[in-house]
Every structure is written in structure tokens, then in C-alpha cells.
Amino acid sequence: MPRNRPPSPQTSSVLRALVADPDAWRYGYELGREVGLKAGSLYPILIRLAERELLEARWEDQSEASGGRPPRHLYRLTGAGRELASTLAPVASRTSAQPRGRHELRNA
């Protein structure tokens, strides 16, 4: 049974990014760049959100894929995911809303 503990800061930042435009389908790499997470952190979050039915996924249509590359996976929040995202406390500023990069941490 899933536990109802608050999401981690990284998960919260992903949820906030997704709920900013809840109807849009997002790519994993683009989402990771936006919230400052690498694949090793982002994908476990996406997998867990999907397993808890907070995230839905679909494959890109052939018409959307270009240049002969394989279709990508697209993600957006489910109703339950949007509900959870709406309960997150709003962030005070951009710096606290997004995980800081390595260079920013060094200068902190």
C-alpha cells in the first residue's frame, strides 16, 4: 500500500513543472532540463509517479516524430496527480522552486 508521505523536493519540482501546463504532454529530457534533474534522478521519479497512477504516459505519434528517430515517451499528470500537485506549497522564488545547479551550489 502506498504511503502518504509528502513528496521529496525533487518530486515536488517535477509535479510543479507538470502542473504549470497540465494539458501539455512533456518529454523526459526537456522536463529534466527544466527542473534541473539528471536522468538518474528524473526517471525514478517519473516511474514512481506512473506506478502510483499520478502520471500518464503515451508514445509520440509517427507524425510528431521527425528525422527518422524513434517515437518518444510523453508525460502529463493524471487527475490525481494534478490534485496532489495543487496541494504543494507555492514556492517563494525561482531559486527555491528549482533545484540549484552545481555552479550555483558552489557560489552559495
Binding site: A39, G40, I47, E60, L105
Partner: protein, 381 residues
Amino acid sequence: MRGPGLVDRYLAVVERLLPAARRDWGRAMRAELATLDGAAERWRFALGCTRAAMLPGPTGRAAGRSLALVGAGALVLGGEIVLAGVIGEFTPLLLALALLAWLGRRPSYFGPVRPDRAARIARSCGYCLAAACLVALVVAEGLPGLFRPGSLRSGTLFALVLTMVVAAFLAMTARTTRLGGTAMISGIGAGLVAGAAGFVVLPFERIGTPLAHGLPWQGTGLAALPFAAPAVAALVTGWRARRSDQAVMAALCAAALGALLIALAGLSAIVFLPERVPDIVGPVMIPGATAAQRQLENSIEASDPYFGLLVFGALLAALLWAMARPPARAGATIALVLLLGVPPIVLAGTARDFPGTTGIATAAVAVLIGAMVTARPARPA
């Protein structure tokens, strides 16, 4: 169109590692990789995906928990801790550690962990250290006499030390800590160096042949490391963070971790390799004793300095805890004084069993901790 490169093949292998239910995620990662340019970026992405592929699934997590339960059961039975008296000794310690681990995940004085790599690594080190101590303790229970079973003092000492160490690690890696990332990393790095060097130079205290005997100049260079490493940690932190309190905390972190590691390595060596313990008591001191009795007495004698170091390391950790704590109001300060003051006093009393210098050092550090906790003004972070 060019064929798949090495990184594509690598990610294809990673995809095969995923359980069938998550194979789509592997395909998703490969599709994302196809859109990326630049070898470095592509490798970074693929290596990140490797970490994601190792995420245990719901079945894996359930299997892991079952395995842990079975392992714990086997450890309990194999470690002969089914005896009622020993359970009485272990239960408060395990309950205290479980409570601390629970508090460490909730918004509290001990948690949650600060969201940066340094804090996560430091907290993991603390848990590993505690787990290693528990394993050594369980194994030692099968060696009658070494920790003087039945002696409340011995069990209480170990429980207090372990609780203090875990509490210190949790507090110094919590979001409210004043310990900076540079101080934490340099302190832990220097502590690992100091611990390893100290153990190599000083195995089995004063009589045994040091492990460094075969090294150039009999490892005399290594003898400086346990003292030099904390100093280097302080210098590096002071230089990078430009704050003296961070430098002091880095040195304390290194010294505490170094002392704890030397003690843990020494006690583990005595527990696991009792035949390597030198003949400290000699045939004259216990006339007519069997070889097994002599070995046991030797183990007890050899363990004393390591117990002293264990106490010393725990007190340094408590001092670090006191320095790294967030500002608190008067009521919270009084609670902290009680929380931090009682264990050192008990430990100082216990330290009478150890060589005199350790007892004096222990008492001195206990006084220092009390003074620091009470004298520190509350001020905004």
C-alpha cells in the same frame, strides 16, 4: 544514416536489465537518447539511465523487505541473542535507533536530510557505521567475556555511544544544520583517512606488531595522519568557506569519525580475529590458565583502548552536534542541555574503567560540551 554507437548499445543492454513491466521505460530512455547530440551529453544521459534502471520495482522492494526480515531473524538466532537477558540489553538500543531513524525522515531536529549530495553521503556513512557497530556487537555476544556480558556498564556504554553517534550524524545532516557542505565533505574525507591510517599504525594497542611494520620507516609517516587529517580538513574548509566555525566543525567531524573508525576496526579485529591478539597478560599473570582463558583475557585487555577511543569519538560527535545545531529558544536549550549533558556524564563515569588519560579527556570534553551548549546565544540563521 549512421548506425548505433557504443552509447546506444550500452543503453540497449541497460534496457534489458529492466523488469518486463518497466521495459517501456527503457525504450523511452533510448528514444530520448536518439534526440541528443554530443558524446559527453549522451554518455551522461545513458549513465543516469543506468541508475534509474537499478530502481527496485514493487516486487523487488517486497522481496528486499522479506530478505531483510529473514536476514534479521537469522542474525538474531545465529548471534545467540535469543537469551532473555541479552534481549533486554538490545531492545532499548534498537528502539532508540528505530526512533532516531523515524525522526530522521520527518521534519524534526534530526530530519529530513538536507537535499544535497554531501548530506546524503554523510548520512549514509552514519548508518553504515551504526550497522557495522551492531554487527560487531551481535557477533561479540557470542564471545563470552569480551564485552563483559551481564555487565550493565558495558552494554549501556555501547548503547549510549551508538545512540549519540547516530543522533549526531542525523542532526548534522538535517536541513536545520549549520554544518556546510564543504565542512561536511572535507571532515568525512579526512576522517576516513585518519581512521584508516590510525588503525594501520596502532593495531591491538601497545604490544602487538603494528600492521605498518613492513612499510617504509615502519609507517612512521602514517602516524602523523590521524592528527594531520583533521587539521587539513580545517584548513581546506577555512580557506574555501572563509568561516572559522565551519573550519572547527570540519576538524571535529574528521577527528570524531577517525576515532570511531579506529575503535570499530580495532574491536572488529579482536572479535573476528581473536587468535591475532598478542599475548598481553602473559603466562605469569594467570598461573594455570588454559590457552582459551588467556586468549579471552588478552582480548579484554586489548579492547580497552579501543573502548576509550569509542567514547572519545562519540563525545567529539556530540560536540559537533552541539556546534551544528540550529539556534534555539531557552526552553529548547534546556532540553538540549539535558539531552546532551546526561550521556557525557554517564560516559565520563564509565570511562573510569579505562586508562586514566582517557577518563580525564572524556570528562574534559563533557565539560566543554556543557559549556558550549549553555553559552551559545540564540541568533537568527
